[in-house]
Amino acid sequence: MDILSILAESTRSAIGPIAAIYALAAIGLNFHFGYTGLLNFGQVGFMLVGAYGVGVSVAVLGLPLLVGFGVGLLCALVMALLLGIPTLRLRADYLAITTIAAAEVLRLVYRAGFAEPLTGGVYGLQNLASDFRSINPFDGGERYGFGALSYSGNNLWVLVVTWTLVLLMVGVSWLLMHSPWGRVIKGIREDEDAVRSLGKNVFAYKMQALVLGGMAGALSGCMLAVYQAAIQPDQFKPQVTFFLWVILLLGGAGRVFGPVLGAMVFWFLMNFTEGLLQGLGSIGLLPFLETTDYGAIQLAFVGLLLVLLIVFRPQGLIGDRKEMLINVK
């Protein structure tokens, strides 16, 4: 087992395209939970409609990629409205239940046999990235970087674009949160009734936050489709949402850089534990486990991390403890 190469590989993934894609989705979740206090347990559903917006437009209808992005974002808007209208007037738990159920039902519908002409069923859709790669300034076959930090040209292009989008969204959220709109949003998180008594339309503000965060999630889904050039419905399982929650809570909810930091640390940890487990397994230190179990152990570890974080350090790495403990209802 080579601990140095595990560290290097983990670092490589911490700044890789996947970390950037998750950071983007976690920024959306930060709008929901970190600023507005909405419990969205179905962020993966927004990613799914975004990814399939690109997938169906490009692979089935043959439209350009940009139109695909538009379709994905539009789907997220519609989904947020559909989820928000019945639940945002009610207590927080109703939104939690509805979103977790809606995301899973969406996945089941997209993978179903009758939807196959449009979504490709369980096989998903392929060949989605040719438009994106045709404007790649790097050479797709080359490797760029130094030492262990090297990426193929295509991945580097996705990486650059996605991190740029992340920075853009970070900027947008900073600006929004320092605007009057942001102050109302945070006020809703702290005390909804107080904001309502000041004459603000709490429902409309919550809906705006839900739509905004959902669109960030859809954008990350679009980038996922472009990065992989192929999508399958089964990669949008509920655990993706829980990864996003760990990312948000690890980095610090209610902080503009929280999700970004969280995504990097989370993917570092994921790859580190995977490398460690495989390393330990290969020298025979894990006699009771088979290699197929490592993934499950990792996911159990994610769950444990979620529990420990929320109990002992709800503010995450860079959050403000007071701010996170205030939304006690």
């Binding site: 239940i97 069923g121 392929q126 797709g140 109990v311 709800p314």
Partner: protein, 517 residues
């Protein structure tokens, strides 16, 4: 703190600079290639030999491969780009045809990135396999990526589509009732737990899976692992009981020591039994295994309350934080079950091929009848418990208003413990019943959880009777929707029903009108 951080960062930077691209060397070994495995459509452990696959770049052929005896094939490619892959239909054995999916008329186009060794799914099916079978013929197992086998995710309706509309209505009503009863049994706990603690237990579905798996384990023969689990849970159960009954009679330290000793004894016994392994193997009939599962489910629920939720409540952790904790617990539980029991899809042996019994117009196998009878008996039993016994009345009182109950002298913590025990046991029973009717696998509980959510919201969050009514309604709607719509949309209809309810009557059918927003 700062120096430690610096050390870590320095270590990382050295690691990056010293290691000359381990990943790069790893995936550059083979260059670009396409590979895959063609499996026998009926027997997924077998490959199909002799299928010829050719890869073209434009009009030029760049490579070809023939599947070996395991069905494996691989074609090396000259570089990244878009290739046309052709499966030679002549070479496919005559008893199969190519399944149309990604591959259309034996051809597909594939984009290959630099250094990408891409898997390509080629699936076969028997020509007779109609479209209704598509879902079960799903070959996601063939992916060489590490996605767990997720074949058939829909819920079986057990109704053949050949019969007339009227017969199907009756048949589907029966299976809807059955499904609804199973949902109701599992969901009572969820609703009562919400009522007493205002917590939505997202881990409830995994209690269901746990029950089904335990029953499977003990009915097929419990060797080392079963005995160990039993010992572990005996220790935990002992600790919870000691805590529950002797709380006010012993001093705090004695109580803590007694609980610790009980748990330790359980762990020691579990280790011993685990080391002995198969030497003490035994198996019981399914009904007894179900009893064991219910008891273990109750212990699991009780110990979760005693050792996780009660301390958290005493720390004044906010409700929203508690939801996230329960999501985390669900992840832990689900994947521990996955590691212990594997990802296979199994059924309880000996209950599969049964002759149908005919009752009036309805035809069903005896096992479904038993499931229905057990579920009805249990539901009536729970209703009696809630209506007529002291503890049941206390549960309803706490569920109604926790503070008022506490001030009228009810030991709220103890009632909550009983509620969790009851909920865990009922969830485990629901798992066994659901497993009898469908298949047992590690994600079954999560899928049922969505239906349980629909049921409790429909009936009114926090009311036990609401969960029963809601469960039946959701089961009926889900099953009857397959009359007109594809069965994969079943859960979507349950969800739609829930959303409709939230729009017109957010407190649910039996809920009391109060401000929920």
């Amino acid at each position: 703190m700062r120096t430690r951080l610096l050390t870590v960062l320095l270590a990382l930077i050295t690691a990056i600079l010293v290691i000359p691209g381990p990943a790069a060397t790893a995936d550059e070994q083979g260059g670009e290639s396409l590979h895959g495995r063609i499996l026998h459509p009926e027997n997924r452990d077998q490959g199909v030999e002799g299928i010829v696959i050719t890869v073209h770049d434009g009009e030029d052929e760049v490579g070809a491969a023939t599947t070996d005896s395991d069905g494996m094939w691989e074609v090396g490619l000259p570089g990244p780009g878009t290739y046309r892959v052709v499966v030679d239909q002549e070479s496919v054995p005559s008893e199969f045809v190519l399944r149309e999916g990604i591959i259309v008329d034996g051809e597909t186009e594939v984009e290959v990135e630099a250094n990408d060794q891409r898997p390509l799914i080629v699936a076969l099916m028997s020509p007779g396999q109609a479209e209704s079978e598509e879902e079960s013929a799903s070959p996601s197992e063939e992916e060489t990526e590490d996605t767990p086998a997720a074949g058939d995710e829909s819920i079986e309706t057990n109704v053949d589509s050949g019969s007339s509309f009227g017969e199907r209505v009756i048949q589907l009503t029966a299976s809807g009732l059955l499904f609804g009863l199973v949902i109701a049994v599992s969901a009572i706990g969820l609703s009562l737990i919400f009522g007493t603690t205002k917590l939505i237990n997202f881990a409830h579905g995994d209690l269901v899976t746990f029950g089904a798996m335990i029953a499977l384990l003990f009915s097929t023969g419990a060797a080392g692992m079963g005995n160990s689990l039993l010992a572990l849970f005996a220790g935990l159960g002992g600790a919870v009981l000691i805590g529950g009954f002797l709380e006010n009679r012993l001093s705090r330290t004695v109580l803590l020591v007694a609980q610790g000793v009980s748990i330790l004894l359980g762990i020691v016994l579990a280790t011993v039994l685990g080391v002995l392994g198969d030497a003490v193997g035994w198996s019981v009939p399914l009904w007894l295994a179900a009893v064991v599962a219910v008891v273990m489910g109750a212990v699991l629920g009780g110990s979760m309350e005693r050792y996780i939720w009660r301390p958290l409540r005493h720390r004044n952790v906010a409700m929203i934080q508690m939801f996230i904790v329960s999501i985390g617990l669900a992840l832990v539980l689900r994947h521990v079950v996955l590691v212990l029991f594997g990802a296979g899809r199994e059924r309880y042996a000996g209950f599969q091929l049964q002759e149908m019994v005919r009752i009036g117009p309805v035809e069903m196998p005896p096992r479904d009848l038993v499931v229905m009878v057990v579920a009805i008996v249990v539901l009536v039993g729970v209703a009696c418990l809630l209506q007529f016994t002291r503890i049941g009345k206390a549960m309803r009182a706490v569920s109604d208003n926790r503070d008022l109950a506490e001030s009228s002298g009810i030991d709220v913590d103890r009632v909550t413990l009983y509620v969790w025990g009851l909920g865990g046991g009922l969830a485990a029973l629901g798992g066994v019943l659901y497993g009898l009717n469908q298949v047992v696998e590690y994600e079954m509980g999560f899928r049922l959880l969505l239906m349980m959510f629909a049921a409790v919201i429909l009936g009114g969050l926090g009311t036990a009777y609401g969960a029963m009514v809601g469960g039946l309604a959701v089961g009926l709607v889900a099953m009857l929707s397959t009359l007109w719509f594809p069965s994969q949309l079943m859960q979507a209809w349950a969800l739609a029903l829930m959303i409709l309810m939230l729009l017109i009557r957010p407190q649910g059918l039996l809920g009391r009108r109060e401000r929920v927003g």
